[in-house]
Each structure stands twice: as structure tokens, then as C-alpha cells.
């Protein structure tokens, strides 16, 4: 049983990272690495699908904060979908929904990116 896993798939110019398991100070660097890879590939339309994410601490939230400026300066966005109740509560406690768009499904999130093109 892995503690944390990231699965990536691309839909045209959109990249989806599905993160699963426990995102804490131990696993945050793995997530950060995957995001940095996308930025190096100049892929700035990013969906983080939280389906399967069981836990997040502020170290995990910090990863989102660390890349958003870079992404938006490049006219991209990072949108979040499929947050479970427990995980969403942590984002919510820290006011993330006012800075990031959250959607219930990946399909809907893809639509939002397409609609903005």
C-alpha cells in the first residue's frame, strides 16, 4: 500500500493530476515534483483531481500556493475537482475556494477550460 500516488493524463492542452492517498509534509515533495514537471513542459492548464485523496495537511496546501502564481502569469490556471468532504473542509478552513475554482467532476472542469479558450 503506497501512502501517496500521482497519476497523470493529458486531454489536449490540459493536464490532469489525480492524487491519491495521504498528502502531508512527507509526500508533498512528490506532488510538487509532478507539478514542476508540468511547468517545465510549459503546460499551464492543470486540473488536480482529488478523487482518492484521503487526507491533506497544510504542507499539501502549500504546494498549491507555491505554483499558482507561476501558472497564472503564464495565462494558465490550476483548477481542483472531486474533493471529498473531509479534504474540502481543510481547503475551506483556509479560504482556498476564493482563490481556486473547485468543481464536482473532472468533465465539468475540462469544460471550463475549453469554454475559456
Amino acid at each position: 500500500m503506497e501512502k501517496f500516488e500521482v497519476f497523470r493524463h493529458d486531454i489536449d492542452d490540459i493536464s490532469v493530476l489525480n492524487i491519491q492517498g495521504f498528502l502531508d509534509a512527507h509526500t508533498a515533495p512528490d506532488f510538487e515534483n509532478e507539478l514542476q514537471k508540468l511547468l517545465q513542459e510549459k503546460r499551464y492548464k492543470i486540473i488536480v483531481n482529488l478523487d482518492g485523496l484521503q487526507y491533506i495537511s497544510s504542507a499539501g496546501l502549500g504546494v498549491f500556493m507555491g505554483v499558482i502564481e507561476d501558472i497564472r502569469e503564464n495565462k494558465g490556471d490550476l483548477k481542483i475537482c472531486n474533493a471529498g468532504e473531509k479534504v474540502f473542509k481543510v481547503f475551506d478552513l483556509l479560504g482556498f475556494p476564493s482563490l481556486y475554482e473547485f468543481y464536482p467532476t473532472e468533465a465539468e472542469t475540462v469544460e471550463k477550460f475549453k469554454a475559456a479558450d
Binding site: 495521504f22 495537511s57 499558482i68 483556509l94 479560504g95
Partner: protein, 148 residues
């Protein structure tokens, strides 16, 4: 032999400072919280608060320190009406009063990272106290009441 519900019980967990141990710490406090009857939502709050305090010890307490035995100590006391959890290090200490609460608006405008841990702890737990003796014993004490 079953849990004595009327007296206070003590638990202690001491481990090396390594983020790989965060899940052990979370399971430890979750196990105790579950046994004394907290619901899943409160168990999650307790796990997260203790994770945040422990992450701080692992990341900050022994920065530039020369102690040989760098540890993190979790002390838990159970009471009929509450759980008291202390996260303890013997690192350099800090001045909790001088650490500003993140103003979330400005915070997001700067889009800076970090600084959320102490704020989360305060939000998640019913009572938080700091007892700081740099190099000797720095303790974050958190209390959560059972909703009866």
C-alpha cells in the same frame, strides 16, 4: 479489562524527527480519540492539528541545533470529558505570540506558502497553549472536548 472511563489515562509516543513518521503519529492519536468516543469529524480535526504541530517540530525545532538526540514526543491524557495532547521537542523554541496569524486576504494576494499550521491548530482544537523553554522543553498543548 476495559478502559477506565472515570480516571485520566496517560499515553506517550517518542520518535525520531522524520516526516515518514507523521502517519504513525496520526494513527496513534486517532486510535486514542476513537477509543474514548470522538466521532469521525473530530478524529480528523485532532489528527490534522497534531500533524501540523508535529510537522513544525520536524521542520523547525532543531534547525541549526546540535542536539544528538533529536526527538518528537507526543503526550496524550484522556479524561471523561476531553483529550489533552501535547507535542513536545527540546529544540530551539519560538515565540508563538510574535507569529502573526495569516490574514487570509493579504495572504492570498502575496500567494506565499506556509504559515498555516499554527492557525489551523487554533481553528481545529478547543484550546491551545504554548510552554516554551528553548533547548529544554517546548510544548504545544491542545485540548479537544467530547461533545456529550
Amino acid at each position: 479489562m476495559s478502559q477506565n472511563k472515570t480516571k485520566s489515562q496517560k499515553y506517550r509516543l517518542k520518535l525520531p524527527i522524520d516526516t515518514a513518521n507523521l502517519d504513525i503519529i496520526r494513527e496513534f492519536v486517532a486510535g486514542i480519540a476513537q477509543n474514548i468516543g470522538f466521532d469521525d469529524e473530530d478524529i480528523h480535526r485532532i489528527e490534522l492539528a497534531v500533524d501540523e504541530a508535529s510537522t513544525n517540530v520536524i521542520r523547525h525545532a532543531y534547525e541549526g541545533q546540535t542536539q544528538n538526540d533529536k526527538f518528537i514526543l507526543i503526550e496524550v491524557k484522556t479524561f471523561p470529558d476531553r483529550l489533552e495532547i501535547s507535542v513536545i521537542d527540546h529544540g530551539k523554541g519560538f515565540e508563538p505570540d510574535k507569529i502573526k496569524e495569516p490574514e487570509m486576504d493579504a495572504y492570498f494576494k502575496q500567494m506565499k506558502r506556509g504559515g498555516l499550521g499554527l492557525y489551523l491548530i487554533k481553528t481545529l482544537m478547543d484550546k491551545v497553549d504554548y510552554f516554551i523553554k528553548p533547548g529544554v522543553r517546548n510544548r504545544v498543548k491542545m485540548v479537544k472536548y467530547l461533545s456529550l
